[in-house]
Amino acid sequence: MRIVDCNRIAFGAVTRYPLRTSMMLLATSIGVGSVLLLTALGESARGYVSAQFQSLGTNLIIVFPGKSETSGVSPGVMTGTTERELTLDDARALARSSAIKLFAPVIVGSMPVSRGGLERDTTVIGTTQQFAEIRQWEMALGKFLPNVDIDRASPVCVIGSLIRRELFRDEPPIGKWLRLGNRRCRITGVLSEQGTSIMVDVDEVVIVPVSYAQMLFDVSGLFRIIIQATEGDTMDRARADVIRIIKERHYGEEDITAITQDAVLSTFDGIFQTLTKALAGIASISLIVAGVLIMNVMLVAVSQRTREVGLLKALGATRRQIIALFLTEAAFLAVFGGVVGLGFGYLVTSSLRAFFPEYIFMPPVWAAAGAFGVALCCGLFFGIWPARKAAALDPIMALAGRQS
């Protein structure tokens, strides 16, 4: 029997029973479609998170006090001592490294801000002028913090666009005084709208010089130092420099943690890739269910067409030919279901993209190919038993319409 003829006969059988076939298509396409949808969801979560991290800036190293141990318990926990603080002098010492392009000490706290009768709680960030450069922030009005010595606690601030709207309405805010707790500072600039970045709504912050923030919150230690390495392959050198310089200053004790943006990014990437694969695995269960349905449908087909099998045998069909015919039919059901499922999956994801353009919602190619492949394999695997059953029929019994 020629392959073309085998396909033609099986295709004829598939199209002969439209209700049965469309039910099968539905089952398989739901399976394939759900693999596509869930993996697209996982992928878009991954894309969203990595975009968020990239929006922080490029070539970043984040330094914070305390050594995070990957195993065991840090000695500080056992002895009750706290780690040494990161100080402004530590930050300033980083300027020595040629691998470091920009650095910005950061203090973060929460504080009520008010102006006239309007007051709200907000996040206050104490930092330096370089922070805006690292984060690639643009100004809507005025200027960012002045480029002066880190120690100078000038009473100035920069506000986010939402703070401006809420406290100033349409008034021009530049040069006005803003009350922060029980201190006052003069507004030098307004950030352009930035939206949320890593859980912080930049439109809702007030930014002050780092020394001023130390006074405001009455702290001496820094929350973070954000560092931008120079262009090129200097990330590892910059990180080593950071650790070396601060270790020297901390009497040889390595009591800080410096993580690179790449490391964070690849960690999250890994987590989300695993998540996506797990989702794909879960969705594949529905493909196996579809496979079982294919088996059921093919068993019914064999009993419906028992006479036909008997006739084929009388006409000289071999066992292999009968197996081939029924397997091809099962494969057709699976392939058509797969194609419909792919179409359905891509249709839904592309309409989701249209509604939520900020997410990526694109099923990965491996998921589409994999789902299709699994559907086909399920169809073939679960088609084997019914096909063998047909091939094993006794021709005389089968011609009389009996299976045994």
Binding site: R2, R16, L315, G316, Q321, P395, I396
Partner: protein, 223 residues
């Protein structure tokens, strides 16, 4: 040429063994026209299935063209059916979703013949059974007589040497039944061995050689 020697076929029915064929000896020569008659359960259909290699004997031997079929496996038997034997059934056994053309084509499709050759042979076979118009019709669009003609065309399209017919007129009115038998007789005149199983004496009586069976044995064999 067909030769049966001591052929037996036993069926287990409950705890009883039924001898559907009981030590049968029989020879048939190529080009013969044989009818097998007898009451229900006499074993005539079993004999026909045996001749058509659809069934295998419990004991005894069957030579087809001087080749013993005893040791052949399913696929070898299928190959012989494909080349040498054509079947015509009481209930036609056409594939309902296929057109007349496709039904006739089916044995050649299984044999893997190229489409061009198939088209020619289908046309020839349909011509031989006097059906040339309605080739694109499906079985449910054809009359009983026409369906049996399609089945006959399918049976002879591979140019077999033996045509086995099991009650070929059983589902037809007497006029189209007679026409079918006449067509088969015409094929027989062209050299095809024709074996008809029937319990209709009017049909069986037309054969040059008439075999009567009872209880799995041949009780008369007249030429």
């Amino acid at each position: 040429m067909i030769r049966l020697e001591g052929l037996c076929r036993d069926f287990q029915v409950g705890d009883q063994v039924v001898h559907a064929l009981d030590h049968l000896d029989l020879e048939m020569n190529s080009g013969e026209y044989v009818s097998i008659m007898g009451p229900s359960g006499s074993g005539k259909s079993t004999l026909l299935n045996m001749l058509g290699l659809l069934d295998s004997p419990s004991a005894g031997n069957y030579w087809l063209d001087d080749i013993s079929t005893a040791t052949m496996n399913d696929d070898e038997l299928a190959a012989i059916r494909q080349k040498k034997i054509g079947f015509v059934f009481q209930s036609f056994h056409l594939v309902p979703r296929m057109s007349a053309f496709e039904n006739v084509e089916l044995p050649m499709v299984l044999a893997g013949l190229p489409p061009r050759e198939r088209r020619e042979k289908v046309a020839t076979a349909l011509g031989r059974v006097s059906l040339s118009g309605r080739v694109e019709h499906r079985p449910d669009q054809l009359s009983g007589g026409e369906r049996q003609r399609v089945a006959m065309a399918r049976a002879i399209v591979m140019k077999p040497t033996i045509l086995l017919a099991d009650e070929p007129t059983g589902n037809l009115d007497s006029r189209s039944g007679r026409e079918i038998v006449e067509t088969m007789e015409e094929l027989n005149r062209q050299g095809l061995m024709l074996v008809i199983v029937t319990h209709d004496p009017a049909i069986g009586g037309r054969a040059r050689r008439q075999i009567r069976m009872e209880d799995g044995r041949i009780v008369s064999d007249e030429s």
